[in-house]
């Protein structure tokens, strides 16, 4: 079975131009959904397809859409999360650079299903050239009547805008994103209320990742059954795994949800560089707890990776080889979260900076005998006690490294001293 779905046409020249996209059968899914299906049918089909969020949390997309009230006197909004800040992640960039119309199609269908007339693509500020490409594609879609007023003559309107962030990881967190889009610091909001009822501009809002939405046209065209066949029963379709680190062929690999981590590393990404052996893997972006080399026979779907003690996250696989001291990895993790904590709540603000301080002294050869224990205690105390999930994102990887590599960390410290 051909496993590539989203990335199938990525090799085509100028796929990002609407003419080429239409030649490949583009916008057929929009036509089908808007002219043949009722909005509820679209939501039902996406629910049946078990499309799980590709942004990090793996929440079922159809279910999320069904939480938005159908009747409300407020406008509803769709925010597309293209912040892509989770270290190790680069898949959304590849979708937007190669196939922006696929994303636009997914946006139109999602907006139709939920009754939304305004959508924003929140894209990380560094992707300036890609933001321009998206704007070009959006302009083409308006010109062909797929965006704007009375789309396909069915009386459905949709305005779509690109909104650039400005460098802050926390704005990938959905409520940080909403604050940022409103022109403020990206400080996450306390939940509840959830964005489905009180979101952007105090109105019901759907927030979905780029890759999540890019799957929607295929579900419409081929049906939920087809989509499920390509993945796991509770987690349909393919995932675009982004593999980086110590492998021979870093890059994106679109594979069935549930492909084993070992196969991704050794078959698709070409295994480790010559003379090196696998030491550890971060399976879904920096915030996901690390696996040791003997833990890679895990099926990469949301539930299996969770059962193995980590998270599928954004599907960003970071491969670490035996020549890399684990303290180096820990240093990167500690530095990143101390830098990116928004500072709003105490356990995260102080906890991440204490962790960073301790790890720095360990690396400088000034570590104390019980530092690894302290890291375990600190990260355990942050976990579950912060305003937004950044606290867990910072604590869980530190906890996993401190527990799984305690002996090595203590040896390195002795050596550094």
């Amino acid at each position: 079975m051909e496993t590539k779905v989203l990335t199938k046409d990525f090799g085509l020249d100028h796929l990002y131009r609407i003419g080429v996209y239409l030649e490949q059968g583009g916008y057929r899914a929009v036509k089908k959904a808007l002219t043949e299906w009722k909005p509820e049918q679209v939501i039902d089909e996406v629910k049946k397809a078990s499309l799980r969020g590709r942004g990090g949390a793996g929440f079922p997309a159809g279910l999320k859409w069904s939480f938005v009230p159908q009747k409300t006197d407020k406008p509803k909004y769709l925010c597309v999360n293209a912040d892509e800040g989770e270290p190790g992640t680069f898949k959304d960039r590849s979708i937007m650079a190669h196939d922006p119309h696929l994303l636009i199609e997914g946006i139109i269908i999602a907006a139709y299903a939920v009754g939304i007339h305004t959508a924003y693509i929140y894209i990380r500020g560094e992707y300036e050239l890609i933001a321009r490409r998206l704007e070009g594609a959006i302009g083409e879609a308006y010109a062909k009547g797929y965006l704007g007023k009375n789309i396909l003559g069915i009386g459905f309107d949709l305005e779509l805008y690109v909104h650039r962030g400005a460098g802050a990881y926390i704005c990938g967190e959905e409520t940080g994103l909403l604050e940022s889009l409103e022109g403020k610091r990206g400080n996450p909001r306390l939940k509840p209320p959830f964005p489905a009822s009180v979101g952007l501009f105090q109105s019901p809002t759907v927030i979905n990742n780029v890759e999540t939405l890019a799957n929607v046209p295929f579900i419409i065209l081929n049906g939920a059954g087809w989509f499920l066949e390509r993945g796991s029963p509770k987690d349909g379709g393919t995932r675009i795994f982004g593999v980086s680190g110590a492998v021979n062929k870093p890059g994106i690999y679109e594979l069935p949800v549930g492909t084993s981590l070992r196969e991704i590393i050794f078959t698709h990404a070409g295994g480790l560089k010559p003379g090196r052996a696998l030491k550890a893997v971060i399976p879904g972006g920096m915030s996901c707890p690390i696996f040791k080399a003997d833990e890679v026979d895990v099926k990469m779907d949301c539930d299996c990776v969770a059962a193995a003690g980590s998270m599928l996250g954004s599907g960003a696989v970071i491969v670490i080889d035996d020549r890399t001291p684990i303290l180096d990895v820990l240093s990167k993790v500690a530095k990143f979260y101390a830098h990116e904590s928004c500072g709003q709540c105490t356990p995260c603000r102080l906890g991440t900076s204490w962790i960073h301080k301790i790890v720095k002294r360990m690396a400088a050869g000034k570590g104390r005998a019980d530092d690894v224990e302290t890291l375990v205690r600190l990260s355990t105390n942050i976990k579950g006690r912060t305003l937004c999930p950044l606290g867990d994102a910072a604590a869980l990887p530190v906890l996993a490294i401190a527990r799984k590599f305690k002996a090595e960390l203590e040896n390195t410290m002795k050596g550094n001293a």
């Binding site: 300036e128 982004g242 993790v333």
Partner: protein
């Protein structure tokens, strides 16, 4: 002292504000626009943006200081932003930063005296498959080694 935006800039700002139900929501895009014109956001620019969007100046300052891409001081003509996050460091990214420091004779966060280059260390740029990588202004450069950095620098001249 206050600063007047040109008619053209004002028009572009109004085009942006029309996309949102609140003028404040236009703040990030407008700051990008203004910074693109002036190179950096001085207190004057902050006040002018505040006034055109109908915000207290403190709201603008809060935002400018929160986001790493906004700068309150001038940067070099070429802003070299070298990634030091995990995937890049697994690909020996540190030596890129060291190489540039030695070559330019400046530290991280500094600008060369001729105002040509600013060197910054940044977190993951979302291009880890091309690790190690850096951005020069908005252009991405990947699979770097010191020789490739030399070639890129040649072309910046």
């Amino acid at each position: 002292m206050s600063r007047e935006f040109t008619a053209d800039l004002k028009k572009r700002i109004e085009e942006i504000t029309a996309r949102y139900p609140s003028r404040q929501a236009a703040l990030l895009p407008v700051l990008h626009l203004v910074q693109g014109e002036t190179g950096f956001l001085s207190a004057e620019e902050e006040r002018a943006v505040a006034s055109i969007l109908g915000l207290p100046p403190i709201k603008v300052r809060e935002v400018v200081t929160f986001y790493t891409m906004f700068t309150r001081k001038p940067l070099g003509r070429f802003h070299l932003q070298v990634c030091s996050n995990l995937s890049c460091s697994l690909a020996a990214g540190e030596r890129i930063l060291r190489h540039l420091q030695a070559k330019l004779g400046i530290g991280v966060g500094e600008t060369t005296p001729d105002g040509k280059y600013t060197l910054t260390e940044v977190e993951c740029l979302g291009a880890c498959e091309q690790a190690p990588c850096m951005m020069v202004n908005f252009d991405y450069h990947g699979n770097l080694d010191p020789e490739k950095v030399e070639r890129i620098m040649e072309e910046l001249k």
